[in-house]
């Protein structure tokens, strides 16, 4: 079981993901440079948060054209698991591996705070160990996190179960106040059709230790690990 964490120029949550996997989950993990072209041997690829290429042009746009992204696309094609967090989510949409786009927060300001998200689809590799309707606490820290998709695409995402996480309040209600950035339909994270590529704006890797305020993010990684080990995971929780 091996995780890879992509390091683009300007990635800055690469070490957060790396240390969570190594020190908290105690799994094997390696950094993968932006100029690499081979992802053989990895089970999960994490695209971490940050400001790749300074977010110049558009967030994630330049990173989506790096050499390693061709390898990530191939990795996803063969069913490999890809998790894009924050800027990593932006890179995935810019690369066309996930639909929709991430626009400027409606406040026009960067937002760093704890939010709650509700699991909308628990049948995916990344959510298998949790349950639909489960509310998870984890932080957001971004300026361009407002998920946008045209109405017909939103409907399609909904119908196909591609909406994975939604911003909610502590009680699990998708209110306006619970939405930190103005995302369409409070969408916090989505999957591709196959369900092996997932992107989300909140930071599960920052919610892996009690000392940091929440351990709710762990379940995403545990789900991925469980899936990769091929264990049958009962829908509990």
């Amino acid at each position: 079981m091996k995780f890879g964490v992509i390091v683009f120029p300007g990635s800055n949550c690469d070490l957060d993901a790396y240390y969570l996997v190594r020190d908290v989950l105690r799994e094997e993990v390696e950094y993968v440079g932006y100029d690499q072209n081979n992802l053989t041997g990895f089970d999960v690829i994490i695209l971490p948060g940050g400001f790749t290429y300074g977010d110049y042009l558009r967030s994630g746009a330049l990173a989506s054209r790096t050499q390693v992204m061709e390898a990530v696309a191939g990795f996803a094609d063969t069913g490999g698991l890809v998790l894009g967090i924050c800027n990593g989510f932006q890179v995935l949409t810019e690369a066309g591996l996930l639909p929709g786009a991430l626009c400027r927060n409606d406040s026009l300001q960067f937002r760093c705070r704890q939010v709650y998200v509700r699991v909308e689809n628990s049948s995916l590799p990344v959510t298998k160990r949790t349950a639909e309707g489960k509310v998870l606490k984890m932080p957001v820290a971004h300026g361009d996190g407002s998920f946008y998709a045209p109405p017909d695409l939103l409907q399609e995402l909904e119908n196909r179960g591609q909406v994975v996480f939604r911003y909610v309040d502590e009680a699990g209600l998708a209110t306006v106040d619970a939405n930190p950035n103005g995302s369409s339909d409070n969408i916090a994270g989505i999957a591709n059709r196959r369900g092996n590529v997932v992107g989300l704006m909140p930071h599960p890797e920052r919610a892996g230790e009690k000392a940091l305020g929440s351990t709710d993010g762990l379940v995403l990684f545990e789900s991925l690990i469980g899936f990769c080990r091929g264990r049958e995971v009962p829908d509990n929780a």
Binding site: P9, Q109, L212
Partner: protein, 741 residues
């Protein structure tokens, strides 16, 4: 004859235009042994500016104690270095970027952050946290809000992008900062001691290498601009403000630290104020060597830059390395990976001259020590300002008593200085690097160190109002409060860095304020046994003859042996006991209450007994180490009532308290005095807390209990007020979201 006269006048205009005094020009002639050419004169003028040469502050700064068994590097290098055990060191420094932020708030603040960041990794340390201290005019005009909003966005814009968390800070508002806001940025880093690298051009034959951004015309003579009073003209000086590129900054950190870790460089110096001139002359002068560089090799952003422009440009995100020739290929490999330009400019020579060539022609040849360290040290005239005695004579206790104390609390909680600054810090990523155990909103930030299992605490504090009323006391209080905040988190203060924001030192009254404040700070450092390891002086904070309050800001760093020991400021559990620690003496002189409720900045602030301050800090650390208390909160602006309200709000739980009989209700509730804190603790710990306090010789009073959904205060059997959490939260939390909408 007339022609010659003309020529001399023209030249006179040149050095005066560059900010040099006639007397200083005479010194240059003497030290150089000839007339400087225009390029050399430019080099001298930037390095002999107040910003670079500290000519009005140097002799006073000698008052600071700078040594302790832990200090590895004190003032004089890019940042202070303090041993934290296990082979590691903490590296930290604070610096001002006031003048640039006054004319271009976003870039001024952003490059302030970028500049202090470079000071830290230049030493070989991994930056782990930013702090900041800000002062603005009250946000009741468009201009004031524009500056406030722009500065906050600039700090976030740079810090968030480079991926270093902004974990603590302070923001205050006074009319005196209207034309001249204060933007002080602090950075803390950590490094294995063996990686320490200094800004020295050692080793004849070693290469002088410039890396990072291309050089452009931004920030020309920024240091000269920073060494004058601001005026109507300052808007036109906008080109003197540098423009930051945090993405390049992030790459430069990663590449530089990789080079340092692999021992590929023998000297590192960032290019900040005074640009290449400063980096060349300082590294040579520190090492006692000479340098030879070819200026045409500097990668330029635009064509046609003159040698003096290349030498004084303050383009950001540039580093100078001193490299042994055999290590150059490995260094080039690292910078190629990060896609950063790297150019060999020249080499280290014997002797002590910095020789600058441009396309083969020598355009400057100056003694490094003369340019970097030859500026005069002034001993300015000093005179107590008349207002001091006049304002001290005011007795706040003669004011009419408070009609509705509950409403007074809400008024103070919703005042600009006290109200929650969440609007500010939610724009900063305070969690990136996943080491932030305590972020903004506490007394001190706490950062765990993966490398050692320990933690660092850091706080930044300064009170311009109190320093205005009594500079000596204000200086002592700044050191006491910053170190107390660190002690509140359980950490032992191991060093401070200071940013001294004052008016024009050539005015005797302004210099008197500076001198007295530094004397107070130095005295506090001596008694509290905490060294000053670096800092920055910002003079000329004046607009149209109106000076800011003298504002010394202190950044304190502390070491926490066990990361888990820190405790927060919020009450945690119902029924826990609330105690007040520390002396009784408080005053309404200079207090927030006086400012908010009576619109006055006057009176005598409560004095400080530094020996007692030390005892209180020992007690605070003892309580944390023994895990005897659940929360600790320093009593500061707004006194006891505000501290209690904040502990309730941070813990989302109420409290019920009985105060000892009061002579003067407002004084008891809102009076401010140093060396005090409130703690909450489980009842079974009370005896041990009392005995520990007795051992430390610190007074403790039991005030009441945590619980309920309101803050309720009784005195002499009468209820003074009962204010609901919801009401307090509204007063405290909604001010800035509303003002800044």
């Amino acid at each position: 004859m007339p022609e010659q006269q003309d020529g001399k006048d023209k030249q006179a205009r040149i050095w005066r235009k560059l900010g040099l005094k006639d007397f200083e020009y005479e010194m240059i002639l003497e030290q150089l042994g000839r007339e400087p050419n225009p390029v050399e004169l430019n080099m001298y003028s930037v390095m002999w500016s107040e910003h670079c040469s500290y000519k009005h502050s140097r002799s006073t700064l000698k008052l600071f104690p700078t040594a302790s068994p832990r200090v590895v590097q004190g003032p004089g290098e890019n940042a202070g270095v303090v041993d934290i055990g296990d082979g590691f060191a903490a590296v930290f420094k604070i610096e001002s970027h006031n003048h640039p932020s006054a004319v271009e708030p976003y870039q001024g603040a952003a490059t302030g952050v970028g500049g202090i960041l470079r000071d830290i990794y230049t030493m070989g340390a991994q930056p782990i946290a930013f702090l900041n201290s800000l002062r603005f005019a009250p946000p009741d005009t468009d201009r004031a809000r524009y500056l406030f909003e722009g500065v906050v966005a600039g700090i976030g814009g740079y810090g968030n992008c480079v991926g270093i968390p902004t974990v603590a800070g302070e923001v205050y508002f006074e009319p005196c900062y209207r034309g001249n806001p204060l933007v002080n940025a602090m950075c803390v880093g950590i490094m294995p001691l063996e990686n320490l690298v200094l800004g020295q051009a050692c080793g004849e034959g070693n290469l002088v290498v410039l890396a990072g951004a291309r050089t452009g015309r931004d920030g020309m003579h920024g240091v000269t601009f920073a060494s004058e009073e601001l005026s109507e003209q300052s808007e036109k000086d906008r080109p003197a403000v540098q423009v930051g590129d945090p993405f390049l900054g992030k790459l430069l950190i990663d590449a530089t630290l990789e080079a340092v870790k692999n021992k590929l460089v023998v000297g590192v110096q960032d290019l900040g104020g005074a640009g290449l001139t400063c980096a060349l002359t300082e590294t040579a002068s520190r090492a006692g060597t000479g340098l030879e560089v070819d200026l045409e090799k500097v990668p330029l952003r635009e064509e046609g830059l003159q040698p003096f422009e290349i030498l004084t440009s303050e383009s950001q995100e540039r580093m100078l390395f001193i490299v042994e020739p055999e290590h150059l290929p490995a260094l080039e490999e690292i910078f190629r990976h990060w896609q950063l330009p790297l150019t060999v400019l020249g080499r280290v020579t014997g002797g002590d001259m910095v020789t600058v060539r441009f396309h083969g022609e020598v355009v400057a040849e100056v003694p490094a020590e003369s340019v970097a360290g030859g500026a005069p040290a002034y001993d300015p005239e000093s005179k107590e300002p008349g207002y001091i005695r006049q304002l001290a004579a005011f007795d706040p206790l003669t004011l009419p008593p408070v009609g509705d104390p509950g409403q007074a609390l809400l008024d103070v909680l919703s005042s600009n200085d006290i109200a929650s600054k969440e609007w500010v810090w939610q724009q900063y990523d305070y969690m990136v690097r996943t080491c932030t155990l305590q972020g903004p909103g506490g007394d001190a930030a706490v950062l765990r160190l993966r490398e050692t299992g320990k933690a660092l605490a850091a706080a930044v504090d300064g009170n311009g109002r109190l320093t205005y009323l009594d500079p000596y006391l204000g200086g002592m209080l700044a050191v006491a409060e910053a170190t107390r905040n660190v002690s509140c988190s359980g950490a032992e203060p191991i060093g401070i860095t200071d940013c001294l924001n004052f008016g024009n030192p050539e005015k005797p009254e302004a210099f008197w304020q500076f001198r007295r404040a530094v004397e107070g700070m130095a005295e506090a450092c001596r008694v509290l046994e905490v060294p000053v390891v670096g800092g920055n002086v910002s003079f000329y904070n004046e607009v149209e003859d109106e000076a800011i309050y003298p504002t010394p800001v202190v950044g304190a760093v502390g070491l926490l042996e066990e990361a888990e020991r820190h405790c927060g400021t919020g009450f945690c559990r119902e029924d826990e006991v609330i105690c007040l620690l520390g002396p009784q003496q408080v005053s309404l002189g200079g207090s927030q209450f006086l400012k908010v409720y009576h619109g006055k900045v006057a009176g005598k602030p409560a004095g400080i007994d530094l020996a007692m301050e030390k005892k209180v800090q020992v007690l605070l650390r003892g309580l944390a180490a023994g895990r005897l208390v659940s929360s600790v909160h320093d009593l500061s602006d707004g006194g006891l009532a505000v501290a209690l309200a904040e502990s309730c709000l941070n813990g989302e739980v109420g409290a019920r308290l009985e105060l000892p009989a009061a002579d003067h209700l407002a004084l008891d509730l809102f009076g401010e005095g140093p060396s005090r804190a409130i703690v909450s603790l489980p009842e079974e710990n009370l005896d041990r807390v009392l005995s520990t306090a007795a051992e430390c010789d610190v007074r403790v009073i039991e005030l009441g209990r945590v619980g309920g959904d309101s803050l309720e205060i009784h005195c002499s059997g009468r209820r003074v007020f009962k204010v609901g959490l919801v009401e307090m939260k509204k007063a405290y939390g909604e001010v800035f979201p509303w003002i800044m909408k």
